[in-house]
């Protein structure tokens, strides 16, 4: 992988040059402690030193709601009006979120490929950025604190400059289009990069122990902790909305008043919702809130491991930050693992 250096004073120029590769979206500051990915019209609004955005980049590939097709007796089924082929440049994506997208790729490339998702994926270039973890980040313990693919460029913050990893030919095109803005990496940069890399582990304050976790969860299937979580959980769906790997959606028809034409749509769903497991005939196989909380944890840390070989949690900390009831995945897993917890 080729690595070049971008002095920070050249960042704006470089980002400006990216507009010919697509509409630029990057994190902006929304409020005191909240950030979000947004369309960038003013480069000075870009905030690359952010902890986490409210919604993960998943919103660009699987929007919260979207039309799947339109229907009418005359024209039959027609594709949605949204242009899936618009080009985007998503700048400032953290390693955990890139892993999140890679997990969604696994899911949506299964037996039935989701072309809506992959068309958008194909048309969006990803430029990653390094970050300093805060007290809710546990990506290191989920092995998502660094990333080797799934991006076109990755910027590692070196205080006065970024070391830029070039991972794809598109990334290479982006750098070549502004060649004069980049410099070669020198010996001092290498020493500094190593120093920063070696320091990184010291920043993490929390973490999950993954060793034997699926088995421990199986053994603790009947643990009282699920009941306790069921008491606290509001079933509000927040954790699923903000999760970079929650991919469940609900499909429904929106009929026009003529009773003949309309749209089939989908919107993000959550396994915490009571009607998520409601089936024909009125049977609900996860009627109790506790069983729904348990299901969420089991799917992320146990079921997904069995199916895809790794947990579907990337340790981004969004669910910890945004749960109104302060349900904290690291606390829950630590409790389950604890010998003293009965």
């Amino acid at each position: 992988m080729q690595i070049v250096k971008l002095p920070k004073e050249n960042l704006d120029k470089f980002v400006g040059s990216l507009s010919k590769f697509g509409e630029i979206h990057a994190p902006i500051k929304k409020d005191e402690n909240t950030y979000l990915f947004s369309k960038i019209e003013d480069l000075s609004k870009i905030e690359l030193n952010y902890n986490r955005t409210i919604l993960p980049p998943k919103k660009y590939f699987l929007p919260p709601t979207e039309t799947i097709f339109r229907f009418s007796p005359e024209k039959g089924y027609e594709p949605p009006k949204d242009n899936l082929n618009r080009k985007y440049v998503l700048l400032g994506v953290h390693s955990c979120d890139i892993h999140g997208l890679k997990i969604l790729d696994l899911v949506f490339s299964g037996t039935y490929v989701d072309n809506y998702y992959f068309t958008r994926r194909k048309n969006t270039s990803i430029i990653g950025v390094s970050c300093i973890p805060d007290d809710m980040c546990f990506c290191r313990s989920m092995e998502t604190d660094f990333v080797e693919d799934g991006f076109d460029l990755f910027l590692s913050d070196m205080d006065d400059s970024y070391l830029v990893r070039i991972a794809t030919s598109l990334g290479d095109d982006m750098v070549r289009a502004s060649q004069s803005l980049f410099k070669e990496v020198d010996k001092e940069d290498i020493a500094e990069y190593k120093r920063k890399s070696n320091e990184m582990k010291n920043y993490f304050k929390i973490g999950l122990e993954l060793y034997n976790l699926p088995e421990i969860m199986d053994l603790e299937y009947e643990s009282k902790i699920w009941g306790e979580m069921g008491e606290k959980c509001l079933s509000c769906g927040t954790c699923s909305m903000v999760c970079p790997t929650c991919y469940c959606y609900d499909v429904f028809d929106e009929l026009n008043l003529d009773g003949k034409t309309g749209e089939r749509r989908r919107r993000w769903d959550s396994c915490l919702f009571k009607d998520h497991a409601l089936v024909a005939g009125g049977l609900n196989f996860r009627k109790e809130r506790s069983s729904r909380v348990k299901n969420r944890y089991f799917h992320k840390q146990r079921g997904f491991v069995a199916q895809y070989g790794r947990p579907s949690c990337v340790g981004c900390g969004r669910c910890i930050q945004s749960c109104p009831a302060k349900v904290d995945i690291v606390e829950v897993i630590t409790k389950i693992r604890s010998v003293d917890y009965e």
Binding site: K30, D31, E32, N33, T34, L36, T53, I54, L55, K59, P64, T65, E231, K232, C233, L234, S235, C236, G237, T238, M241, V242, F252, E254, L255, N256, L257, D258, G259, G262, W268, S270, F273, K274, D275, R289, Q321, S322, P324, A325, K326
Partner: protein, 258 residues
């Protein structure tokens, strides 16, 4: 196929849902193409008070004995009865002081004039008649009403989202007013469908759409107490729109015994 015969009725409420229907200006002509509206006192000069109806939409809470009689007559005439708006579905603002005697309330509000009419504690429609479907909201969302009409005419039970306001608030990427700003926000236990409109204008959710299915009132109260609100503050907000709701009644009855 003949157009379904429809009645749109209002009992004690602000007529807000009926106004929302009339505000569907771009769709009114289409609505008239598919519905045979026989009774709609807010909009029609001539109303058929006796005919059988396929669908009755009823707004408002039952606050007077006459309204109970009227509601039961509407039920008898109608194949489907749809509760429209928070008052009809949950009791609404008229029910917020149900624990105070009606005599005292009438005296405080109307003085001697209050003696000429009867009043009963405000109740949602379902306390008196079978309700086939509910569209909550203060007022209802125009889009939900139109979706419901389209589904009903098509012969389907409408499907409205049952999730909490938080769900839509998050997808709109609002700053959480409960966690980040310490607001008395009922979003986690209030049914969504409003696209978290107030929250998008930095106003905490007041619970105007009524409680979400399986509302975890106990957990919500604990969260708000941690934010510095008293049980009284929370109770006052909760009972503003949905005091008769079972989730609230059960929670506060239990608290009362502690």
């Amino acid at each position: 196929m003949a157009k379904p015969k429809v009645g749109i009725f209002g009992i004690t409420g602000c007529a807000g849902e009926q106004i929302v229907i009339l505000n569907c200006e771009d769709q009114l002509m289409d609505i008239l193409k598919i519905l045979d509206i026989r009774s709609f006192h807010t909009a029609l000069s001539e109303n058929d008070e006796k005919c059988d109806l396929d669908i009755a939409f009823v707004e408002g809470a039952v606050v007077q004995p006459e309204e109970e009689i009227l509601l039961k007559e509407i039920r008898k005439r109608s194949r489907l009865l749809i509760a429209l708006g928070t008052c009809a579905v949950w009791g609404g603002v008229a029910a917020m002081k149900n624990e105070v005697s009606r005599e005292r309330l009438k005296d405080e509000i109307y003085g001697p004039a209050g003696k000429i009419f009867e009043s009963i504690p405000a109740q949602p429609l379902c306390s008196f008649v079978k309700v086939d479907f509910s569209i909550s909201g203060c007022p209802i969302e125009k889009e939900q009403f139109l979706q419901a009409v389209a589904s009903l005419v098509h012969g389907d039970i409408p499907i409205l989202p049952k999730y909490a306001v938080c769900t839509e608030c998050k997808t709109n990427e609002n700053t959480c007013l409960l966690l980040e700003k310490g607001g008395l926000c009922l979003g986690p236990i209030t049914v969504g469908g409003c696209d978290a409109r107030c929250l998008s204008y930095s106003i905490p959710c007041s619970g105007c759409r009524g409680p979400v299915e399986e509302a975890n009132v106990a957990s919500e109260v604990e969260i708000l107490k941690e934010k510095g609100f008293t049980l009284g503050d929370v109770h006052n907000q909760l009972r503003t729109f949905a005091a008769p709701a079972e989730a609230l009644q059960t929670y506060f009855a239990k608290r009362g015994r502690e």
